[in-house]
Symmetry: C2
Subunit: 243 residues, 2 copies
Amino acid sequence: MGTKERRQREVAEREALFLDVALELVREESLLNLQMSRIAEKAEYAVGTLYLHFSSKEDLLLALVTRTVKDYYDLTRKASEWKAPSRDRMFAVGVGDLVFVKKHPDYFRIVQYILCEVAWNAASEQRKQAFHDANRPGLKLVSTIVEDARRSGDLEIDGQTAEELALGVWAICSGYHNFTHAEGLLNHLSITEPYFLMCRHLQNLLDGYHWKPIAGPAEPQAISALIERIKKEVFPEDLCNAA
Amino acid sequence: MGTKERRQREVAEREALFLDVALELVREESLLNLQMSRIAEKAEYAVGTLYLHFSSKEDLLLALVTRTVKDYYDLTRKASEWKAPSRDRMFAVGVGDLVFVKKHPDYFRIVQYILCEVAWNAASEQRKQAFHDANRPGLKLVSTIVEDARRSGDLEIDGQTAEELALGVWAICSGYHNFTHAEGLLNHLSITEPYFLMCRHLQNLLDGYHWKPIAGPAEPQAISALIERIKKEVFPEDLCNAA
DNA sequence: CCATTTCATGAATAGCATTCATAAACTATT
DNA sequence: AATAGTTTATGAATGCTATTCATGAAATGG
């Protein structure tokens, strides 16, 4: 009964096509202007067919994010497998965000939107579940770093689980992505390099976790140098053009 | 020519009424179901009149947020005027968030939505400007705490401006508010008390800033006690019922 | 009291997400 | 290979709401 399998494959390919097309449209004309009918048209299918795959527009966006989350965790994996002290690996996870935004400039924008109650509740239960499932391996990677750190004595966890510590890092990243998307918000604070500042605050947080070796009040140059080193050593294939 | 002034006052009152009604509707039936026609109806005006005030639905939401931001900074003011070490005052700003969500459970939800590119770009330039202006005094208060800390030697700023330091705190808070709004996201990580964890990570960040007196790996009980003390001493009138 | 400007109204418009009756394609059976 | 039955694809029609704008009412001022 190979027919059924071929069919399944075709359906999966079509779904992938829809997501590809949706992403292209977001890139071309922003999330604001994304229309279901345009997606169908560009993919050369009927709107109804699109709705055979996704229960709503938000459902499609969550699917898109869920698919991309795997690419994102590829960077996390590279960070976690890097031959370096646990603290630097953890920091590299954050630098991964920085690298990822260059490659997928719309990803965090869509995440921000989809995590809003309004959008989140418009997605199907299955998609939400799939999103959670897709996140699990990434969280595992980060937890592994934390556990390594503990084992090697770099980190004495003060009653916080690995996931909890990771959430602090995630919160800072998430917060900065948010601010960055509201045009004018940061200019207003004369902040021109939000992602660099994000890195500094990640370092500060890790210092606050007492994660050795403590960076202390490092000069900006030192952090810049570390960021550059991580980009080259950990994410050599993920850097865009002449960034 | 008092006529003109009376008229202005009336218009301002009507605008306030619209915002009151909008907030009530959000509370009653969620942001997702907020409809412009319902707002107009409930306020006993025509839809067209509503659009005399707000250029779009998002414009109205940004106006709502902008109005409430002042209440929010009342808490920040209390925190910054508290007779306590600068570090505790800074922490109290974060605890203010916690107190504020109880009182205005929809505020951060709306902020999260309005800061999404999609919504942000649908608001008028004037509103965005007003939002920035409304935020300035709050930022000033926080900067004052940072400068006090520097003056008293509690904090040796390592090349970061007061605003930059404050942004780190803001990022953590903002990140946590986000996670909290995506139903199921944190349960999935077995995190049941996000705002308590937020407070811990704020402490960790302040430690990372080397803001004296360093809290170190404080037991949860100590942080809980401090939170409770701040609630009672700093925000006595802002606590809801038997929270 | 009339002319003119300003303001308020809500029915009409318009944009899109979503549905669903219909047709096409495919599968199984004789 | 013809037929009946089942599954899948279609896109015109629906429906919901934000937004507009022609119309009339009210205020202003001479």
